[in-house]
Amino acid sequence: MSVQQPSDEWRYLRAACVVVAVIVVAELGGWLAYRSVHHGPTALALTEKCLRREKLLTIESLGGDTIAATASGGAIATRVEGNGVHVAIAGSDSEAADLANEYLHTAGRQIAMRLDVHGHVVYVWEAPRPPTASQRQTMYDCWYE
């Protein structure tokens, strides 16, 4: 013996499945439309917000750093434990490598120990020595690309 399903039970279940499908499509469509209109905060904005609010650092002027100023993702400067640092956010690994090469080409080999490339982000430290682990970690904590 097999169980028979009342006919109008299926009618209501079918309609309910259609309603659920409409809700799912509306949510997905709404999300895609929202995503195409609203872009999240940029890596530069996130970095700046993190440095200010979480690390309590002040944002400084880039001065005459024309190389950092060309980074497609923007650039900012700050000071960690007394050591100034310029942060250039590139749009890709290759752009980050190009920015680093340009620093090396312009300032010479002595800048290498002050230069750090982390993903798409290029850090150039001010003090004539490599940054301390703590200084580097502070910047990595606010690393966005």
């Binding site: 169980v3 028979q4 399903q5 109008d8 039970e9 299926w10 209501y12 279940l13 499945c17 309603v19």
Partner: protein, 437 residues
């Protein structure tokens, strides 16, 4: 015909097997899970200890929560101390595990009353309940929710019994009132069970002229007992805190403007699947409730509330559970909408099924109202366990939809069974509690 007979014959033993497995896992979890890691654990333990010393919390901790579970848990603590257990709270946790298993048994009783003979519907609903992480999480904790789920489900079963079988109506009505009253003495959420039960009984009284007088008598008895049993508690709260339910401060602005529109309509995509843990989408109701129910949004089960994010392997488990929950939730929602449609268009036909159609609606409305009234930045007022009393009804809705699809697309039935089994197999590892968080 032969395969159908076979399936029907197999449905019942498999259902019993699933219930037994739930019992074993739930009790094992209660003996392993660190009670202090659960929701509001210290408050709950302090409340239970305080009750055993003869006093209620005074304006601190969970003072607004009725003492039902804490009285049981307090006796459990005393028993644990007497037995010399290192963790006397384990007794209360085991009580919760047993409450969850008993709820599952009551769910089966309810399904047999509402859909007699539909063994596959029963099995699908039992499987849904059995692989719901929110049930296992709560059942392992020292927390009132599992006991309130048990009493709420008992009330729903008694209300269904009242409508399906005409004998001993006044006795059943008194038992129903007692279950509803005791449920309120455990958790205020069960007030929505009271509302649903009374509403459905009134619909039956309106649509069944021959039974109207007897039904109205039963409603009167049930309501009177349900009000009398928790009355001393409500009187105490009103006298002391000027609020019978939840006398906590809340924003001055009107309820409807305490949350932005995104809180109600946001789906948390894609993080609801790719990053199903805090602090993602903490300002959106649906994804938070979803991931709390199907996974471990707050970190009380797998990865720890003090950790900023879960590790890679735990994150993968959470993502897997979030994916598993999608077809189960969509089918449960479809079944729920179908039952609601039937209830609205044919209120006098199988009125008892409206009990499972209306309970999720009332639970959702209640949880939304609470989360809107008391907004928090971390989403703490949107815990999945707040809707635990509605899980048996969601399971019934799922079973209804699953069986409906199976009966309509008979050739696809094996595919449906394989999919359900696969989802269950993927879920099972997540249902086991870990001993350290």
């Amino acid at each position: 015909m032969r395969p159908a007979v076979l399936r029907r014959d197999m449905g019942r033993p498999v259902t019993y097997g699933v219930i037994a497995a739930v019992g074993v896992i739930a009790v094992r979890n209660a003996l392993v899970y660190p009670a202090i890691a659960g929701y509001d654990a210290q408050e709950a333990l302090d409340y239970a200890r305080g009750l055993m010393d003869g006093h209620l919390p005074t304006g601190t901790g969970s003072y607004y929560t009725p003492p039902g579970f804490f009285a049981v848990g307090g006796v459990g603590l005393e028993l644990g101390d007497w037995l010399g257990l290192d963790h006397p709270e384990r007794v209360g946790q085991v009580v919760n595990a047993l409450a969850a298993v008993t709820t599952l048994v009551l769910l089966l009783v309810l399904l047999r009353l509402l859909w007699p003979g539909r063994e596959i519907l029963h099995l699908a609903a039992v499987v849904f309940f059995a692989i719901s992480p929110v049930v296992f999480k709560s059942a392992a904790m020292f927390h009132p929710e599992p006991l309130s789920m048990l009493l709420s489900t008992a009330a729903i079963v008694l209300a269904a019994r009242l409508l399906v079988r005409p004998d001993h109506r006044l006795l059943v009505a008194a038992a129903l009132g007692l279950a509803l009253g005791l449920a309120q003495l455990v958790r205020a959420w069960t007030l929505w069970t009271l509302a649903v039960v009374i509403a459905v009984l009134c619909v039956a009284a309106l649509t069944r002229p021959r039974e109207r007088r007897r039904l109205l008598g039963a409603i009167g008895v049930a309501l009177a007992v349900a009000v009398l049993v928790p009355f001393p508690w409500y009187a105490h709260q009103v006298t002391r805190y000027h609020s019978a339910l939840f006398g906590q401060p809340h924003p001055e602005e009107p309820v409807w403007s305490r949350r932005p529109l995104g809180f109600f309509v946001g789906a948390g995509l894609p993080d609801v699947v790719t990053h199903p843990y805090r602090p993602k989408f903490s300002h959106q109701f649906a994804p938070l409730a979803y991931d709390e129910a199907w996974g471990d949004y707050f970190g009380v089960w797998r990865w720890g509330v003090t950790k900023p994010t879960p590790t890679g392997s735990v994150s993968n488990q959470l993502v897997a559970m979030s994916v598993v929950g999608i077809p189960l939730t969509l089918l449960a929602v479809a079944g729920w909408i179908g039952l609601l449609g039937l209830a609205v268009r044919h209120p006098g036909r199988t009125t008892e099924r409206q009990l499972v159609a209306l309970l999720p609606l009332a639970a959702l409305a209640g949880a939304l109202y609470f989360a809107t009234s008391y907004p928090t930045a971390d989403g703490d007022t949107v815990k999945g366990s707040f809707m635990l009393t509605a899980v048996p009804a969601w399971a019934a809705c799922f079973g209804f939809a699953f069986d409906g699809l199976r009966l309509h697309y008979r050739r696809m039935a094996p595919v449906f069974f394989v999919c359900l089994a696969a989802l269950a197999v993927v879920s099972v590892p997540f249902l086991f509690a870990v001993s350290r968080l």
